[in-house]
């Protein structure tokens, strides 16, 4: 349907904005459709405002500095169970491990697919890599979590988590959960980096090659600095995926109240091989659906979580607009 319409009419001759067609000439169906579109847009705004304002209200009501800085404790009443320092640090730890694994992998994949795998068998392989990343992006996180348990319960991976009394590997630890988290953080980093690389004009590379640089040198000196903002966007999106995920934490991190380091080993490694919690799993457990049932603390932790998510969103937007300013890329678009 592209052909005749778009080619035969000179675009400049058509004034779409200049004189507005009067609403009075519209049919009722059209008026209703426009009204419904406005309604839908404003409805989504209202939902977002309701979520943020309600969580903000509850957060201000229940969040106290003492909750952030005290460790959780076993107890029956809500004033005995402490705060959520451990879950907070757990989220930070998981994010660090996940991004440390996902970012290099995603960036290398994007570089290989855009810069190297251009023809022949490599091209076909790169298609396979791209579609498998797409599959990972579409897989439910609970399924990825169950895969992680099956994988890390193998005896070969016993060093990543703790071994139970019967000789069975638990498969639950910060290392295992972080490694699985890297899978869900990988797709956004990969897509952002790939799109950034594809947007770099070919003559930039050709100029570098003409100066005698190899591809890898071009990547290091020319392309990577150029796509830094894209990588930053991708990493931020990846961080918000990890921070928001619950299923992987409750299945793979053991979901214990406090940090429970492994019984032996180097100090830091013990912590990493041990179990813990994250903000999301803390909210889940303290909601009426979980075991603890302390809704006030769930609200407080959820408010903190939402603040993180909003900040990460703002960061993505800042990076995007800064990039648009410096490169003259068209701003807008959503994904």
């Amino acid at each position: 349907m592209s052909g005749p319409l778009s080619e035969s009419l000179p675009a400049a001759a058509v004034a779409t904005r200049g004189r507005r067609s009067s609403v009075k000439t519209w049919r009722w169906g059209d008026r209703l459709a426009v009204l419904a579109a406005w309604g839908a847009g404003l409805f989504l705004c209202a939902v977002a405002a309701a979520v943020v304002l309600y969580m903000g209200y509850r957060g201000i009501q229940y969040l106290r500095p003492s909750l952030i800085f005290s460790r959780p404790a076993p107890g029956i009443k809500q004033n005995e169970t402490g705060g959520f320092l451990d879950p907070l640090l757990g989220t930070a730890l998981l994010t660090t491990i996940g991004i440390a694994l996902a970012a290099p992998l995603a960036i290398c994949s994007a570089l290989w697919i855009v810069e190297y795998a251009r023809d022949g068998r490599a091209r076909q392989l790169s298609r396979v890599v791209e579609s498998s990343i797409e599959i990972v992006a579409g897989t439910p996180d609970i399924v990825i979590a169950l895969f992680g348990v099956a994988l890390f319960q193998l005896h070969a991976f016993g060093f990543l988590s703790t071994t139970g009394e019967g000789g069975g590997v638990t498969g639950q630890s910060f290392l295992a959960a972080g490694a699985v988290m890297s899978l869900i953080a990988l797709p956004p980093i990969f897509v952002a980096t790939r799109d950034g690389l594809q947007a770099v004009p070919a003559q930039t590379r050709e100029a570098a090659f003409a100066l005698g640089k190899t591809r890898i040198a071009t990547i290091r000196r020319v392309l990577l600095p150029r796509v830094r903002a894209n990588v930053a966007t991708g990493v931020t999106l990846g961080v918000s995926r990890i921070v928001a995920d619950t299923a992987i934490v409750i299945v793979l991190l053991g979901d214990t109240l406090r940090f429970e380091p492994a019984s032996s080993g180097l100090p830091v490694l013990r912590l990493l091989r041990g179990t813990g919690a994250s903000l999301t799993s803390y909210v889940f457990d303290n909601s009426p659906a979980g075991e603890a049932g302390a809704p006030q603390k769930a609200y407080a932790a959820a408010f903190l979580l939402l603040v993180f998510v909003v900040l990460l969103n703002l960061a993505v937007q800042r990076i995007g607009s800064a990039q648009a300013r410096s490169h003259g890329l068209a701003a807008g678009g959503l994904a």
Partner: protein
């Protein structure tokens, strides 16, 4: 050796290293399917494919599995999972049916109708909605919507009509569907917006030149042009909805029950379980061998449907790529 590594790398070595790293993701996907399938095998071995069908009470079947240990007898593996498969389909279809018109209208609003200032607010709002963690949706659902439905919408006669079968607390199909629709709508809005924004403006100008008014032109030109993108967005959102575990586990009552359409309006207030929420609810039963196999069989079902949906979404988008409507 070290000096060789420090010297500028030849391209062939760099290509091999980057290629090898890229293939790790493929390995992960293959490993994922393999591990889940191997763990699910006992269910297929003892039930064939009939575990997907109806029959018996899934509650007693799961409880038998949970109680068994060591090397369970073949009868323990008996499973008929239709109630939760039905629950999954029900929640997904209803949520997508609500989210689809909402998302398309909202995308049209953002791209075509909204004044620039409103649009500048809408884009971050949709982005924020898309990134609200599912546990927060679940928390709002279980602490705000569930009590509201339980106290104000469910009448006593409805409660009595199901006395003895199931308790109507407010944790219900209705809350699950509404919250799920709100969760997947922003994702669809984002995809449809991108496609709408990529429709060449000359197409609409052509329509305007022919004397077509704005709402007509949007419907006849822009929405028609992006039909494949709408389908692709629906497919992607369906995948998300199928896999949503935490939120549904929190608001749907976690009760083995298949809502009965014959109950009239009460149908919407009945609790249910989906595949994903069952996986969350029984995550600790993973150490019981029979239940372990059941959980992985359900996970395999989710994994395969997600696979089909992502391949389907990819194929549907191809005609748009050809016309370069999608960047």
């Amino acid at each position: 050796m070290l000096s060789r590594l420090r010297a500028p790398w030849p391209d062939s070595r760099a290509a091999r290293l980057l290629g090898a790293l890229s293939l790790l993701t493929c390995l992960c996907v293959i490993g994922m399917v393999a591990f889940v399938a191997v763990n699910a095998w006992p269910i297929f071995r003892y039930n064939g494919l009939s575990w997907l069908g109806p029959g018996g009470s899934i509650k007693t079947q799961i409880e038998t599995m949970l109680a068994s240990s060591g090397h369970p007898a073949a009868s323990v593996f008996h499973l008929r999972a239709w109630p939760i498969i039905y629950g999954t389909l029900l929640v997904t279809v209803l949520a997508v049916a609500i989210a689809l018109p909402l998302a398309v209208l909202c995308a049209v609003f953002i791209v075509e109708l909204a004044p620039r200032r409103v649009r500048r607010v809408m884009v971050p709002v949709v982005r924020l909605l898309a990134s609200v963690p599912s546990v927060i949706w679940g928390l709002i659902g279980v602490l705000v919507l569930v009590p509201y439905v339980g106290n104000h919408l469910i009448t006593n006669s409805e409660r009595d009509s199901l006395l003895g079968t199931v308790q109507l607390t407010g944790a219900s199909l209705l809350v699950a569907v509404v919250v799920l629709a709100l969760m997947i709508a922003p994702i669809m809005v984002a995809l449809v917006c991108d496609a709408l924004a990529a429709v060449p403006s000359s197409w609409r100008e052509g329509a305007a030149a022919l004397g077509v008014n704005r709402p007509r032109a949007i419907r006849a030109v822009n929405l028609r042009a992006i039909r494949p993108a709408i389908v692709a967005a629906t497919v992607l959102a369906t995948g998300r909805a199928l896999g949503e575990a935490i939120m549904i586990s929190m608001v749907s009552g976690s009760f083995f029950f298949a809502p009965r359409p014959g109950d009239g309006l009460t149908f919407f207030f009945e609790p249910l379980r989906t595949i994903a929420s069952t996986l969350v609810d029984y995550r600790e039963g993973i150490s019981a061998p029979a239940l372990n196999a059941t959980l992985y069989a359900l996970a395999l079902l989710l994994l395969l449907s997600a696979l089909v949906l992502s391949v389907g979404g990819y194929l549907i988008k191809q005609p748009l790529r050809r016309h370069q409507v999608i960047a």
